[in-house]
């Protein structure tokens, strides 16, 4: 029940009317020539710019995406039956913008800045949706890691702050789960997260918001959402709007993580608009500028130089493949734009290996420069080991006779595969990851049966937290692992595993 006094409404209205000053308005105008499928062809508006907002009637807006001598083509932002041929179109003179700032944290908004969570949103500052990417001199090299909390990624495919890492895979392979884990892992840190849901089901967006809320990660997160029922123009704008929101934080010197979920739907929305705007189509019916569509978006992710505050924007674009085909148009485009990719496989996912990362096809082009020293020390040959195991396992399943060294490789590989399994909300701190990898490299899990590895891992981490808490805290804060600390941890783990072996014998 709303609680207010009737008199206050009157005084509020009187005050607003008193403050109003009349200024005659002069603006460009055009006339709607045709209107179909949310595409408007306009006559007139000789001074309009690409990306300019047009006003149709009272509360309807459109975006200029096509210019010619006599007028142009625009897409409607929202469905409107009120726009009919002969309507007057008003040129607003400014390009589409979005409200930005810290009041957006914890909120769900649409790409034109309307709150979708039913709460009031006060807009104090705006930023154009399309901005230029930072120049070469405004950037610095990526050298600080962005922990995802996932052992498989932080150890083998490290992501740096300011990097663009593609998450690619078929449907239902855990792409969003990886991005969500990365966002959840930032809950107690200094990284702000922006999640752009492009053409997603409204129920999925609600579920993601609930998950983030439940684990306490929503308060440093902004969700920019366009659902599958929104028109193509809103879906097209979503990643650019999200990027502008993230840019504001980045230029304030903050570290930001932005997730585009997903860019294949974004390309499809842009293709729909382009075909309706009668642009010539190319491969897979996408327009010629579909590469530029994504490159200009992803180039806005950067690690800024010290003079500009040293903020960063890490982008995790997601792309869905069909039947594992990463050589189709959109995946290859985005693979070539980004600084690496995490490739997820249905077979691995169905075999219960989650995150279902294919280590052979996944790569981080920033490499080990974006890894903590402690992690560098313990994850040296991990990638090679996993790749070797998966190759050997394929042959071993034919029942071939295997020698002792191959048997050992398979046994270690099986344990490692188990160790790399992780639930979406079960993110691991750096120190925990270091302990697990140290235990594996010292072959401490050798006597633990494969099915008990995950339980044993949990117990090991609990034990280490009690026994060496100060060392673990030191690793988490400094990111370093000295030789003495390493010896201490190995010694403690050896005594833990001795206890475990005794338990097994009983």
């Amino acid at each position: 029940m709303l609680n207010f006094e009737v008199e206050s409404i009157g005084s509020f209205l009187k005050e607003k009317i008193k403050k109003y000053e009349y200024v005659p308005k002069i603006y460009d105008y055009g006339v709607v020539k045709s209107s179909a499928d949310d595409i408007i062809h306009v006559d007139g508006l000789p001074h309009s710019r690409y990306g300019e907002l047009l006003e149709f009637g009272e509360e309807e807006y459109g975006l200029v995406l096509d210019l010619n001598e006599k007028g142009g083509g625009a897409v409607l932002l929202g469905r409107s039956s009120a726009v009919v041929p002969g309507c007057i179109v008003k040129g607003t003179g400014h390009v589409a913008d979005i409200c930005v700032g810290y009041q957006l944290l914890g909120r769900i908004i649409d790409p034109i800045g309307r709150a979708l969570d039913g709460k009031e949103l006060v807009c104090t500052e705006t930023r154009p949706v399309e901005c230029h990417a930072p120049t070469i001199m405004q950037r610095s090299s990526v050298n600080k890691p962005l922990e995802t909390g996932l052992l498989a990624i932080d150890s083998m495919i490290p992501i740096g702050r300011g990097q663009r890492e593609l998450i690619v895979g078929d449907r239902q392979t855990g792409k969003t789960a990886i991005a969500l884990s990365a966002m959840i892992n930032q809950r107690k840190g200094d990284v702000i997260c922006v999640y752009c849901a492009i053409g997603q089901k409204a129920s999925t967006i609600a579920q993601i918001a609930n998950t983030l809320e439940k684990v306490g990660a929503m308060e440093h997160t902004v969700i920019v959402a366009s659902t599958a029922s929104d028109c193509s123009s809103l879906q097209y704008l979503t990643p650019y709007a999200g990027c502008s929101i993230a840019e504001k934080f980045m230029y304030d010197g903050k570290d930001v993580l932005i997730v585009y979920d997903d860019l294949s739907k974004h390309a499809v929305a842009y293709r729909a608009m382009s075909l309706l705007l009668r642009r010539p189509s190319g491969r897979e019916a996408y327009p010629g500028d579909v590469f530029y569509l994504h490159s200009r978006l992803l180039e806005r992710a950067a690690k800024l130089s010290h003079e500009l505050g040293g903020g960063s924007m890490t982008a995790l674009p997601i792309v869905e493949t069909m039947a594992g085909d990463i050589s189709s148009y959109i995946p290859t485009n985005i693979i070539s734009i980004t600084d690496g990719q995490i490739y997820l496989e249905s077979e691995l996912f169905n075999a219960g290996i989650r995150p279902a990362v294919n280590v052979g096809l996944s790569v981080s082009r920033v490499g080990r420069s974006a890894q903590h020293d402690a992690m560098k020390k313990v994850s040296g040959s991990l990638r090679l080991e996993v790749a070797q195991y998966r190759d050997t396992a394929v042959f071993a399943q034919f029942g071939a006779d295997i020698d002792a060294s191959t048997a050992q490789l398979l046994s270690r590989g099986e344990k490692l595969t188990e160790l790399l399994k992780q639930r979406q909300d079960d993110v691991l701190k750096l120190s925990a990851q270091v302990c697990i990898l140290l235990a594996h490299s010292n072959n401490l899990f050798k006597s633990i049966p494969e099915k008990q590895v995950l339980d044993c891992r949990r117990r090991l981490l609990e034990h280490m937290k009690l026994a060496c808490n100060s060392t673990l805290c030191a690793i988490d804060t400094s990111g370093m692992l000295s030789d003495s600390e390493k010896d201490l941890l190995v010694h403690e783990m050896q005594s833990f595993f001795k206890g475990e072996e005794n338990e097994q014998r009983k």
Binding site: L13, K19, Y22, P24, I26, Y27, L45, K90
Partner: protein
């Protein structure tokens, strides 16, 4: 001679049209030939459409602006 459209709400007379025309001619430095359209949905005042630009001075747009100011 610049062709243009003048939307105007009643009541108005020839004197008003002449005053508006001469005002715009002075402002833009060119002769203007207005096609006058009576539009009572403006409530009062006028809107002139000249060379791709709208010169808006009607009551309905002012009311809309006030309405918008309530929400900002």
């Amino acid at each position: 001679m610049q062709q243009a459209i003048l939307k105007i709400a009643r009541p108005y007379d020839e004197e008003d049209i002449r005053a508006i025309t001469s005002g715009f001619e002075r402002l833009l430095g060119t002769n203007i030939d207005f096609k006058v359209i009576e539009d009572n949905s403006l409530i009062g005042g006028f809107s002139a459409f000249i060379d791709g630009k709208v010169y808006n001075s009607d009551i309905v747009s002012r009311l809309n602006e006030i309405r918008r100011s309530f929400f900002n």
